[in-house]
Amino acid sequence: MKTIRKIGLLLVLFLGIILVTACGNGSKQSNSDNSNKQKTTKEFKGQTMNVVATSDAYQPLFDKFSKQTGAKVKVLSMSSGEVLARMKADKSKPMADLWFGGGLDAFEQAKTDHQLEKYQSNSIDKINSKYRDKDGYWLSKGLTVGGFVVNKKVLKEKNLPVPKTWNDLTKSKYKGEIIMSDPSVSGTMYAIVKAIIDEKGEKAGWEYWNKVNKNISFYGKRGKDPQEKTASGEFGIGVIPVDKMAFDAAKQNDLTVVYPKDGIPWVPEGVAVFKNAPGKKVAEAFIDFMLEPKNMKELTKLDGKDTDQVIMPGVKGLDLGLNKKDLMKENLSSFGSDRTAVLNKWSDMVGDK
């Protein structure tokens, strides 16, 4: 009976592992007391904060939080669209405790769907009221801004000048040389589309995009497509989110980053606590922790944000040459509610591209 005994043992062992790891998820997350003291100094030893974030790059900040509070932080990198979809499919439990990063439209949607928990940190006043929800459901950790990356070698070959403004992109001489991502896939592209419509007005805004569309042969299916395909010389101009990563990639591939002279579109990146999150208290403590100026500064570094993209006055980010007065006038209140309508109209306009 040796073999059977071995197999039996194996089964028991695995079932054990599965049970322990499965149960481990929920049991570690117990709530702490409700006192209103400064939470960042509180111990969360033995507790876990689950985070969905737009990137794994924030790990050092989470590690610092773990060190300070004893809480274990588990991060999963996920796009904001996917977070929304998963919550829609599985209403039984929150996706995680903390939602870190992602376009404002998704946060607004989640707020409307009652999937966020209200939280007003004691330090919330440090953030410009423009960059946080008036009802306290989300706040932003920074701004993402849009611009171009240009492959001068490619443009030179075709005798084309480097575009300086958004309006330049409508010129027919750039036909076939521009790439941007599908705004339904990339939150930044949606922000750019929406910002230009806001800035120019509904009619002129759509006329603008119609002209740009004629110069574009297809829309990238990934946020990074414009950056990459411009770097490989497939296209001369890529519409991109401008941050340190863009400047680094430009240096690596001999490209030029351009802040358009006729205005810079921007979108706040949200942070929120999920409704009924088991680790709610830890997530709230993390928001307090994040709002400490020294941590905000570290976050800016991890995000590769320019000082002007920082939403907390007084905190200095990197200097990437952005000028705050160039930021476009935008209507954030319709950012989430207009998304479906804008994307539907967009999809009708571009057809199969």
């Binding site: 009976m1 040796k2 073999t3 059977i4 197999i7 194996l10 089964l11 695995f14 592992i17 599965i18 049970l19 790891t21 499965a22 998820n25 929920g26 876990t48 689950n50 985070v51 969905v52 794994d56 790059a57 790990q59 050092p60 588990k74 991060v75 999963l76 796009s79 669209g81 996917e82 929304l84 979809a85 998963r86 829609k88 499919a89 209403k91 039984s92 439990k93 996706m95 995680a96 490619v154 599908d182 339904s184 896939v185 297809f218 829309y219 299916k221 990934r222 946020g223 990074k224 950056q227 395909k229 490989s232 010389g233 497939e234 296209f235 240096k251 690596q252 591939n253 001999d254 199969d352």
Partner: protein, 549 residues
């Protein structure tokens, strides 16, 4: 009934019940849930979806058919070419093919754009052309390259089963090399060809990654299904798309059932055994297969060469420089993911193999018709797109009675049951090698079912179990579609991290992860083959007669 027999009877029934229930709950129920959901939930009706998106379906099916044919041509060429090679060369190439089963499409696509893009080294710099590489041609090429390795391994597994004496006798009767290939080897490969044709067709239909990188404005069902979820949160549309994909896949499945009897002997690329003497390099077939194989191996070398280059260099002003940077940068992405991925893959490999062996035991040895039906249900994850299986899990297990979404268990269970399909095929091959007389002998000597398992079934299928385990392990190490919508924080696996960094354009990190996955799979393969080798060696010294209690 004696106490011994009663205990054995209870255990026997218990195992039978557990196997049946687990397949029904973890395979049939999720599929039923998503079928019901996509047909009943308010929203677009499937018929409207079809009439509006006929072009998408057409794109997917046409690409899948062409990929299927091309990949078949290359895999048959590589397989036939194997018959001309020495044992040593065969060993090296098999390892190479095994390594390339982990084929992240991003690398191939990048290399393709670098060489054949609008400013590609060959098209633009050498030939002064500006060709658009985006579209179906790119997708078909990338998929063909990705699928051929597995196909060739399956066929080589069959090639090794050909009795050397058959080739020798054909030769002694004066048959020429081309005739031997045509009349002896090719007919014996035929059942395998049916399988690899089906595998390629289904994999192409379900592939949602390649077209996002190289498709340009050419849209396909699988990637649209993925985007429906991630950009619009529209799971209903994703379900409709997957249901549409399921139709051509099911048609393929019926063909598969027709040939099932023959392909039960097909391995998932890790067959053992030796092929007869290499054929002499004469005739027309050898040069043709040699050229096609060479082209294929070169393309693979280019692909994996660029993975390694990406993993150990950084770019500066357009030039590559050797650096540890990618490895260091990948650290924050991986954390405890490597350990977790290995553990999950081991669990999936072991339990998947065990379940499959029991299914085949009851279906074949005990001749249970019900278990054969269970085996057929177990095949579903193999013929339907992985994302469909994952979405099914999301629907089925997010509500009572089995609300397990968000737990580690659902991810582990998913990868276990995803293996059952291929594992049952491999298990069947190894169970078929056990002569029924052994089971009969146990009964004649008054043995119980437990004696049967302990003294005949498990000892004699040990090698099959090891190979099935390895298949399950590799397949879990490389799986994406079925778990992408299931993982929560703290449950991520290496392939998902790789998929994620590819989406962000962090190719260097992706290349490091790809190298790690390959290394882990190769090490595991080494361990398994070493164990098989050791157990075979000890067999030579010990009497072969089974021990009877």
């Amino acid at each position: 009934m004696s106490k011994k027999h009663l205990g054995s009877f209870i255990i026997d029934k218990f195992v039978y019940l557990i196997i049946t229930l687990s397949i029904l709950i973890f395979i049939l129920y999720p599929y039923l849930s998503i079928f019901v959901q996509s047909l009943s939930e308010t929203g677009q009706k499937i018929t409207d979806f079809w009439s509006e998106n006929f072009v998408l379906t057409q794109h997917s099916v046409v690409v899948a058919l062409i990929t299927m044919v091309l990949s078949l041509i290359f895999s048959v060429a590589v397989t036939i070419n194997f018959a001309f090679l020495s044992k040593q060369k065969q060993k090296i190439l098999r390892l190479f093919l095994l390594v390339t089963m982990v084929s992240p499409p991003f690398v191939t696509s990048l290399a393709y754009i670098t060489l054949f893009g609008r400013r590609g080294m060959i098209t633009h710099d050498l030939l002064q052309l500006t060709i658009n590489p985006y579209g179906p041609q790119g997708i078909i090429l990338m998929q063909t390259l990705s699928f051929t390795s597995l196909n060739a391994l399956v066929l080589i597994g069959l090639l090794k089963k050909i009795e050397p004496s058959m080739i020798n006798s054909a030769r002694s009767l004066g048959a020429k090399t081309d005739a031997i290939i045509k009349d002896v080897i090719f007919p014996l490969l035929r059942p395998g060809i049916v399988v690899v044709t089906l595998i390629s067709f289904i994999r192409s239909l379900a592939d949602f990654q390649t077209s996002t990188i190289i498709g340009g404005s050419f849209k396909m069902l699988a990637s649209e299904g993925y985007f429906a979820v991630i950009s619009f949160g529209d799971i209903h549309r994703a379900a409709l798309i997957n249901l549409t994909l399921a139709i051509p896949a099911l048609i393929g499945f019926f063909l598969y059932i027709k040939y099932d009897r023959d392909i039960s002997s097909v391995h998932h690329g890790t067959a053992s055994g030796e092929l007869g003497i290499p054929l002499s390099k004469k005739g027309f077939i050898f040069p043709i297969t040699a050229v096609l194989s060479l082209l294929f191996y070169l393309a693979l070398l280019l692909q994996y060469g660029s993975i390694i280059i990406n993993a150990i260099t950084v770019k500066n002003m357009g030039h590559f420089q050797l650096s540890w940077q990618p490895l260091i940068a990948s650290k924050i992405y991986l954390n405890d993911t490597i350990f977790r991925t290995i553990i999950y893959s081991i669990i999936a490999g072991l339990l998947g193999s065990l379940i499959s062996l029991f299914i085949i035991y009851y279906g074949q040895v005990r001749n249970s018709k019900w278990m054969r039906l269970i085996e057929m249900i177990g095949t579903f994850p193999y013929i339907l797109p992985g994302t469909f299986f994952g979405l099914g899990y999301l629907y089925a297990f997010s509500k009572p009675p089995l609300a397990i979404t968000g737990t580690t268990a659902i991810v582990v269970i998913n990868v276990i049951f995803k293996q059952v399909a291929f594992a049952t095929k491999a298990a069947k091959a190894s169970v078929n090698q056990v002569h029924p007389i052994y089971f009969q002998t146990v009964h004649d000597l008054g043995g119980t079912v437990l004696n049967e398992w302990n003294d005949v079934f498990f000892p004699m299928t040990k090698q099959g179990f090891a190979l099935t385990f390895l298949n399950g392990f590799i397949s879990t190490m490389t799986t994406i579609g079925s778990i992408i919508f299931l993982v929560h924080p703290g449950q991520n696996l290496m392939t998902l991290v790789m998929f994620d960094v590819v989406q962000r354009g962090e190719y260097q990190v992706a290349a490091v992860i790809a190298c790690m996955i390959i290394l882990i799979c190769v090490i595991m393969a080494g361990i398994v083959f070493l164990l098989i080798h050791l157990s075979e060696r000890s067999k030579k010294h010990v009497s072969l007669s089974p021990r009877l209690n």
